[in-house]
């Protein structure tokens, strides 16, 4: 949809349905290029990036209509640039924002022109065209989707400066072309990544892209331990994922289908595994 907005749907929404609530309008400061979102259950807040204005916007959890953000991170000291993605660490009250060649960590309550608390950047980090991001506040890792090397970089949560990743999941067996969206399961120490296959934006072929699950301890050319993949999945270009632990479901958003799909998490785990 051409309009910048955040659409909120009921969990059981199915088919050609309208959202139950929409955050949209000039006061929201949303642009139509917010390619990531985080929900803060503890503080009941919604976080989205606005890369066109180099800003991070925070809304009330129940925001609706043309409602202004309650906080905005923006300004010269923030170093925000190409900030297409973000992740929330509600345990340590931090927001993690990858830019093209850096990872910026802000206080969750940051507002205005504030400097990051920590920055991971430099040649040893191997960060290049970083895309998706996930943080595990329990096991203390940050996962970054990286374009060159093509794969997933895993850092310690408290890393700072020019530090190498503690592991890199990369190589032909991984099947990774462009990792984009991440979610995590701290209890199982598993990382779930949406992987867009090369060329699907042109071919629009079903079944080539996939959602892959890796262990935190994976390092090197390791295939995913389980996947959601195939023509039945309806996935063409999966871009983000979210988990509903209570109902054991995973939701995957697809850029080409302009849609999101719900899958049974249990059935994925019953499927073939490495």
């Amino acid at each position: 949809m051409a309009n910048p907005r955040i659409a909120i749907f009921a969990r059981l929404a199915n088919g050609n349905v309208a959202p139950v609530r929409v955050i949209e309008g000039g006061h929201t400061r949303l642009s139509r290029t917010s390619h990531a979102i985080a929900f803060d259950e503890k503080n009941d807040e919604i976080l989205v990036p606005n890369p066109l204005a180099e800003a991070v916007l925070v809304f009330r959890g129940n925001a609706s209509g043309d409602e202004a953000p309650i906080r905005t991170i923006q300004g010269p000291h923030t170093f925000l640039q190409d900030n297409d993605e973000l992740a929330l660490d509600s345990v340590h009250d931090e927001i993690i924002v990858p830019t093209r060649q850096a990872v910026l960590v802000f206080s969750r309550t940051a507002n205005g022109d504030v400097a990051p608390l920590r920055i991971i950047a430099g040649p040893k980090t191997r960060l290049n065209r970083a895309r998706g991001v996930a943080v595990d506040p329990v096991n203390n890792i940050i996962a970054i989707g990286n374009s060159d090397p093509q794969g997933i970089l895993i850092f310690n949560r408290t890393d700072e400066g020019d530090v190498p990743p503690r592991s890199i999941i990369s190589g032909p067996k991984t099947g990774i072309y462009a990792p984009k969206g991440f979610t995590i399961i701290p209890e199982r120490k598993e990382l779930i990544a949406t992987i867009e296959a090369r060329g699907v934006q042109v071919s629009r072929n079903l079944g080539e892209s996939f959602v892959g699950i890796w262990n935190y301890t994976d390092n090197g050319d390791i295939p995913p331990k389980a996947t959601i993949k195939g023509e039945t999945t309806m996935l063409i270009a999966p871009r983000g994922a979210a988990l509903d632990f209570k109902h054991q479901e995973i939701f995957v958003i697809d850029k080409i289908q302009n849609a999101f799909f719900a899958y049974s998490w249990e059935k994925i785990l019953q499927g073939p595994q490495r």
Binding site: M1, A2, A7, N14, N16, A18, L52, A55, S147, F261
Partner: protein
């Protein structure tokens, strides 16, 4: 008898249980069907353009990735039958936004937005999964508006992410460079959307949202690895440019309508700018200048209205009239076209799957004179467009999807 019974039983079991078994199997492996899906099965109309002489209206559909034409004077209470539908991977019609018609050469111009940001040109009668007659790559990502200047044989596009207007030869294709570019902090361009080239008065009009940052040169190259990545075809072994940390310069500005000399280039300041609280501008999308009556029409998404300004308006001025209110059936309008020959103004409401037509001089809470429908009336629209993220709110048991 017993053997025959067993045979019948086994065959029956296979017939009855076979499909169920297949469904079960498909859901056990990684190739499982979704439990639920939220997806719009209908086209949503984004931008609109009319050729009254050929009696066609063209609309872009960014949901199903199609470019459609209909009879201009179609009166239909139900879903309208298109004359042509261009869609499919050969067409490269993707997340299409702007559309313009060339009535002289019978061509349709459209631009893809946040993916393969190409300008595609098709003949009026093209339909199906067919390649474009010409393709131009004006940006890495996020072209939005397209406007034709048939007097000077030029075509202009806006590029949202790098706050840029680029003017090309009308027949430009491939990697051809623009003739002129308007870009820079003095231009007032900020997340530009609609564009109109007024060849009669030698001016360019641009509708701007409120997000701004200084573009860096590598953002502005349609051939970078980043651009190819947006198209999903990058060879990632090619070393990419490193981008060092820099002070952020992003900011929010007032939404505006900026006006430039037609031949303006580089960091040129606008000759006029409509902005401020009296204007009512909020997320202005398409802009159209009616040179016959000296009026500017704006699809003002933020207020569910069409605003009309004097062509030479400048500063914080109120519109001279508005089409606004529940009877108009406008909801977050995006596309707009003024058909001077038939004295009509068209607007699209993607969230209603409609394009609506009004008298050109309509004012206030007026009903449309015609409605072009892409879906049955009252069909709900999920409104998901080019999504990249999703989050779950376990407290309210809701899913959050930004565009």
């Amino acid at each position: 008898m017993r053997i025959r019974f067993r045979k019948i039983f086994l065959v029956s079991l296979f017939v009855v249980a076979g499909p169920a078994g297949l469904v079960l199997f498909s859901q056990l492996g990684s190739d499982q069907a979704p439990l639920r899906q939220v997806r719009d099965r209908f086209p949503v109309f984004t931008d609109v353009a009319v050729d009254p002489d050929s009696n066609i209206v063209a609309v872009t559909d960014e949901n199903l990735f199609s470019l459609r034409t209909y009879d201009r004077d179609l009166v239909s209470g139900d879903v309208a039958d298109p004359r042509t539908v261009i869609t499919g991977n050969k067409s490269r019609v993707d997340f299409v936004c702007g559309v313009a018609l060339d009535p002289t050469n019978k061509e349709i111009y459209t631009v893809n937005n946040d993916t393969a940001a190409d300008m595609l040109v098709f003949k009026y009668d093209a339909t199906g999964n067919v390649p474009a007659s010409r393709t131009l790559s004006p940006a890495a990502v996020s072209t939005w508006g397209v406007a034709l200047d048939l007097t000077n044989n030029e075509v202009g596009v806006t590029v949202e992410s790098i706050n840029k207007v680029a003017i090309y030869r009308r027949l430009a294709q491939g990697d051809e460079k623009p003739l002129r570019v308007i870009q820079g902090p003095a231009t007032g361009l900020a997340d530009p959307h609609g564009i109109f080239i007024d060849a009669q008065n030698n001016e360019i009009f641009v509708a701007n949202h409120d997000s701004y940052h200084d573009a860096v040169s590598s953002e502005d190259n349609p051939n970078t690895v980043q651009a190819q990545l947006a198209r999903g075809i990058a060879n990632l072994s090619v070393p990419a440019e490193r981008r060092e940390l820099r002070s952020s310069n992003g900011k929010f500005v007032e939404p505006s309508m900026t006006v430039y000399a037609r031949t303006a280039q580089n960091n040129a300041a606008p000759v006029r700018s409509i902005h401020g609280p009296r204007t009512g501008l909020s997320l202005p999308m398409k802009v159209f200048v009616d040179t016959a009556h000296n009026e500017i029409f704006v699809a003002n998404s933020g207020s569910n209205s069409i605003l009309v300004f004097d062509r030479t308006a400048n500063g914080d001025v109120a519109p001279i009239r508005k089409i606004e209110g529940p009877a108009t059936k406008l909801r977050k309008p995006v596309g707009l076209f003024v058909d001077v020959k038939n004295d009509e103004v068209w607007a699209t409401s993607p969230e209603l799957h409609t394009a609506t037509v009004y008298r050109r001089t309509a004012q206030g809470n007026v009903a449309p004179v015609r409605i072009l429908r892409g879906a049955p009336d009252e069909t709900p629209a999920p409104g998901i467009g080019n999504p990249g993220g999703i989050a779950y709110d376990p407290t309210r048991e809701q899913l959050l999807v930004p565009n």
